[in-house]
Assembly symmetry: C2
Homo-oligomer: 219 residues x 2
Amino acid sequence: MNPPSLAATTTAAALAARLRQEIDQGRWQAGELLRQEQLASEFGVSRIPVREALAQLQSEGLLRIEHYRGARVSWPTPAEIDEIFDLRLLVESDLVARALPRHDERSCRELARLQDQLEDAQDRLGWIGGDIAFHEALYRPAERSRSLALYRQLRAPIDRFSVQQLGPEARKQGWAEEHRQLIAAATSGDAPAVLATLAAHLDATRMVVLAACADLGDR
Amino acid sequence: MNPPSLAATTTAAALAARLRQEIDQGRWQAGELLRQEQLASEFGVSRIPVREALAQLQSEGLLRIEHYRGARVSWPTPAEIDEIFDLRLLVESDLVARALPRHDERSCRELARLQDQLEDAQDRLGWIGGDIAFHEALYRPAERSRSLALYRQLRAPIDRFSVQQLGPEARKQGWAEEHRQLIAAATSGDAPAVLATLAAHLDATRMVVLAACADLGDR
DNA sequence: CATCGTATAATTGTATCCAATTATACGATC
DNA sequence: GATCGTATAATTGGATACAATTATACGATG
């Protein structure tokens, strides 16, 4: 008989979500310190849920916490980014290959709808969210929850580079084209095509992220 | 000038390590509740570091925390376990393939030494620790830190089943045999052999874990 | 002037206490 | 007797307060 309780989650989780967004949007640069007290007063909570949120973001690879020193936004090296994309290719190829035979007309329409929605997105955050939604819909028919979680986890620490680099309209066009090809290949059930397109798509994204990361220097 | 500070870590981290061990040893069954107050008084600390340790173990997939309900030992389904082993095969095949050309006489001696040590291990915990050390040494020359972390993360939630099932001396023998074959293949640089052996080794382990998990029933 | 050591401030880690929520026990009602 | 509603207890989530550690400022010393 309760009202559906909008905030059915803990404040630490809400904070983590908020901070995740802000990191993606570039509020803090790589290597920058996040102060517990500052965040606590900013959001009007105590440091306890702040600490739990920071710990959560560390486990997602967005932060690195040092004992008594504080939480810094992670600063992946180009080698790490390369490795992440290699892993994404492994995992996402497996996912799409398993999903392919289970895609039907309905799921392919859903893909097209998500792509339309993506191209209508206004801000960078809506953009990356749309891309995530598209890929998840592409992989979901595989019914591999664990792999899907792994896919999310691999994206999380590098998505902010895509978001921040997302100026050039050209890249956006190419991205849309690759997504359209993925939909076509999924619709026709052409496994080699979908795998090749996915690989090309990931490689293109890799270049964007590496470029964004190169500007940082190491620390 | 400080003494090397044995506990250079936080108490939450120490607690997490301890609880990880205890979960592997089967102190709590799958689905069982871990009470914060009980753990706090048992280890002589407050509930704050206990909560942080529990959150950490949740991010590792060992626990599942429900809002205001408590932390339960995770109870993976056979399907999830199957999926984890599929992912392990993907990641570990990639790792061993990259490591293989970089193994030399020294690293292979190290593998043999670790295997000797493993076979001398007394208790179940030493056993699983030895197996982890062996595999990490097998993959380390690849210099893929992110993949190695992923490998650890995939093992973490299922190792307890191997540990608890680890009665039969027979299985232990077969395991040792497979490890010896891996060393031989690594020494001779025989990529197809090492990949085939790894796949067989993982499949054998999968069966053990699935058997241990089957006794649980779902919850 | 550079470097080291010390005192102070700033920050994180933990303990204690209170609030919010859930689980349990008990009685009323059909 | 079973089921529902309510009161109580048990448990978790969060706020405040304190301890431990690290960073900074400042002066002494060469």
